[in-house]
Symmetry: C2
Subunit: 175 residues, 2 copies
């Protein structure tokens, strides 16, 4: 009887520790990839663009990375997320990006959230909320809408202060 | 006294006729440009793409035209509307497309409606509603949302039956 109890406790502990380890690993890699997205945001600021950066990860590796390129490319759709989705599709040879995670410094707008649904990305990790047009949580909740044919798992608030600071100092410097 | 009355009546009649003439002209050019968008939709079907077409008009002339290119370009963002907005920005040398009208055969999705806000287009004319993800009227109303920093004038239902038929016959042929 005590043997069985000990055996079960040991099994539960093993499952618990395994889940904790997975969460710890995921949290660490989220921070690591968000730092790479932040580097892209800072590089965009240096080029006179709104400092938002994104990286797309597949199988633990970065497949595509970019900052906003709207002004440089004279392209109204060239937000960091869109550039990264297009580049990743080319790199992976598939316009569906199943099993990928997109890291972006600021909550995506409706264009970018819509593009993530089109691309069927699995997971989105973003830094700071965007009260002026965020389409994931703040103004709209496009990625969890049951009427659409794809849903995206979302983690928000990763390095949120650094991500918001990048954009705030950019606009403060322009005033 | 009667002279004044006659004069006022004549003025009102002139304004009324002018407005009617403008409406008539606008309706006719809407149909004409939607026919061009429909040609793009049919060409897309011939290339194995979902048959949706778009043209962008500035100062009465077509600046850019395209059908869906998602599969051909291996690009999840290459809906007809996005391709046309990108091409028009290049052609006009400006990533803001103020004063332009976008014609598209089917109600835009959230990605494309969001892109129209980013591009600051003035007016959208579309054919048939999209009950599965239309982001202008059916599922979401992005183009009239007061929280966003731009609104787009919308006319819907232009050649709606032809536009819906193009897509229905394409999917019927694939079953």
């Amino acid at each position: 009887m005590w043997d069985m109890c000990l055996h079960h406790s040991w099994l539960y502990a093993k499952v618990f520790l395994r889940e904790r380890a997975i969460l710890w690993f995921r949290m660490n890699s989220d921070i690591e990839f968000m730092q790479e997205a932040l580097e892209e945001a800072r590089a965009a600021a240096m080029a006179g663009e709104v400092p938002i950066g994104a990286v797309l990860v597949h199988g633990g590796s970065v497949v595509a990375r970019s900052g906003n390129r709207t002004i440089r490319d004279c392209d109204p759709t060239a937000h960091a997320e869109i550039v990264v989705l297009r580049e990743a599709a080319r790199a992976l040879g598939n316009y569906r990006l199943a099993g990928t995670t997109l890291y972006v410094t600021i909550e995506p707008c409706s264009m970018c959230a819509g593009a993530m649904i089109q691309a069927r990305i699995e997971r989105l990790v973003y830094g700071a909320d965007d009260p002026k047009g965020g389409a994931v949580r703040t103004c709209f909740q496009l990625l969890s809408d049951e009427r659409l044919n794809h849903r995206v798992e979302v983690t928000s608030g990763v390095l949120a202060e650094d991500c918001a600071a990048a954009i705030q100092s950019f606009f403060a410097g322009r005033r």
